[in-house]
Subunit: 314 residues, 2 copies
DNA sequence: CTTATTATACTCAACTAGAGCATAATAAGG
DNA sequence: CCTTATTATGCTCTAGTTGAGTATAATAAG
């Protein structure tokens, strides 16, 4: 605390041996497909240096994302800032501060984003998609390996502790699956040495990793943070609409929510919730291509935002 | 996005014209008094440069807070990172990135913190304390001035919009008071030119400001962010316990929650909630100095943290 | 005209949250 | 001792919310 202590400031040179990077988790959900913008053949999140020209961090991010994708970003939210020493091994002299953001965009790909840039995010987290029940890799691969990892602990306490954490995160041993714990699950796997990033960082231990595409540095951790945040947010803020076309059927809306949350919801209750909260209004048109009875088309009631405490889509 | 675009990196010199500051909102609640650690006679939050020695941002913060206060910080959470150009007018050449944290500590002041360092946070936000009903300044001063501000808008739309936002934030015109909207309220007052910081930044407009102590730069905004975050958090995570002594009565616990939230809660329901969630266990001892019937003493059940999804004190 | 598929309306039971009533246990003042 | 004030603690009632199911409507495909 420079204000209370007698600690002197470091020299300007030392103080300035710092740079900042902006990292984006940019999400879209065309036809209920949860996708994230990637670079380098899906192995990294888009990132760029924070430049002096930018008015603020957020406007800097917004600028270059829109420049790159050609689409407006509706909703932007800061995720996390870190500067861990072991994360930025590429710049031993100075220090990189990484500031990550979550952004939601309505449109998918334009000609400006090379094909393959948008990836279904469950490629990176195959254990997170429970829309058709718990994925088999959880029971077949993840749980056994986590049990093994728990057994490897020296202390009895620690064994139980590991097991409890694993069961809580992955919902086994009569615990429930909580779709919001994306980050905790990833970190648990990391700690257990079951993801490639952990093997990479700790060298040695070429333990058999669990399925799921790895990313550069800790980009996959950042992605996990973004997905987790989004899954929490949709329950109390109407952010899904940032991902929807101007008009949509209630089922399309539901599919988008399910894509993000990775779980299915009770159709009738979903509709009840959306309607009783006045989140949408009918456009008057109908959609014929439902494959069954035609559905009413709705639009988001933008005015709810300045209305009541505003709910989400729990 | 340096990875997708052809944009070249700036020179190292330019890239490094950046420094980082850590700012702390450090909270305690001795006998149900919500206090925050300040410096410079209550006009600023403690802050310090991020140094290259620090292992990470969080450990850097933890280090110097514990060094300064002499007390361990239980819970630390990142608040927000910003680098707005107009906020750091003191360093026109480079750019300061400010990373703010919320920290909770159990003990109050030690010999290491000068007296007067800990301030009741309602000195800064007198309109936020509704424990004895809505403060008079809201009806007497704030609402009338906000109405006036709304009237000053050129467009009819904008007038209504301002009024709606003000009513939603401050809970008038049959809207309910929502204690979590601390930041929104501060920002509304700022926008309306009713806090000293706004007058300072925009020069001119020596409009009569509203009561409440101002702070340096946007420290008061950061404090508002911290209080708001804490008020949200206590509802779903048992963080209050970080502020309590090892053993406490349920009323003491309730008073702490009320101090933070700025509203009172129904005593019986509060107890029901705490107990049915197994957040606490009896120590077996009783407290005699309650002024009435003696109360059982409780301690926090630390194990709940790895128990169930873990609830808070809503 | 039957089957599959989706849309939409309604019901019911379990649980949660807000509010109040009642009683217990102490201290202080007569 | 007895009354009053104060806090602790147990219990009930009601309204609202949530999860899950039933029933019916409207379309396309065969």
């Amino acid at each position: 605390m420079r204000d209370t202590s007698g600690v002197t400031r470091e020299s300007a040179a030392e103080r300035h041996a710092i740079s900042a990077d902006l990292i984006a988790v940019l999400v879209a959900a065309p036809n209920g497909n949860p996708v994230v913008l990637t670079v380098k053949d899906g192995s990294a999140l888009p990132s760029g240096p924070f430049e002096l020209i930018h008015r603020s961090l957020q406007s800097g991010l917004r600028n270059w994302v829109e420049q790159q994708t050609g689409h407006p970003v509706g909703y932007i939210e800061q995720l996390y800032t870190f500067a861990d020493r072991d994360r930025s091994s590429d710049e031993p002299a100075g220090r990189v501060i990484s500031i990550s953001y979550l952004g939601l965009t309505r449109e998918e790909p334009s000609h400006r984003t090379p094909p393959g840039s948008w990836r279904n995010w469950y490629e990176f987290f195959p254990w997170e998609d429970h829309r058709e029940g718990a994925p088999e890799i959880i029971g077949d691969i993840i749980v056994p390996r986590l049990r093994q990892w728990a057994d490897e602990a020296e202390q009895q306490d620690e064994r139980q502790n590991r097991l409890r954490r694993a069961a809580g995160a992955f919902g086994f041993d009569d615990r429930h699956w909580n779709e919001e714990m994306v980050l905790q699950r990833y970190e648990l796997l990391y700690e257990a040495g079951l993801v490639e990033e952990a093997v990479r960082a700790r060298g040695a231990k070429v333990a058999a990793t669990v399925p799921g595409r790895a990313m550069t540095g800790d980009h996959r951790r950042i992605l996990a943070t973004g997905i987790g945040r989004l899954r929490t947010k949709i329950k109390y803020r109407p952010v899904v609409f940032e991902l929807m076309q101007p008009s949509f059927t209630l089922l399309q809306l539901q599919r988008a929510v399910e894509a993000l949350a990775g779980v299915t919801v009770h159709k009738q209750n979903f509709r009840r919730l959306i309607e009783q909260q006045d989140l949408v209004e009918e456009t008057g048109e109908m959609s014929a291509d439902t494959g069954g009875r035609p559905a009413k088309l709705f639009r988001f009631r933008h005015s709810v935002l300045d209305d009541r405490p505003a709910a989400g889509t729990k």
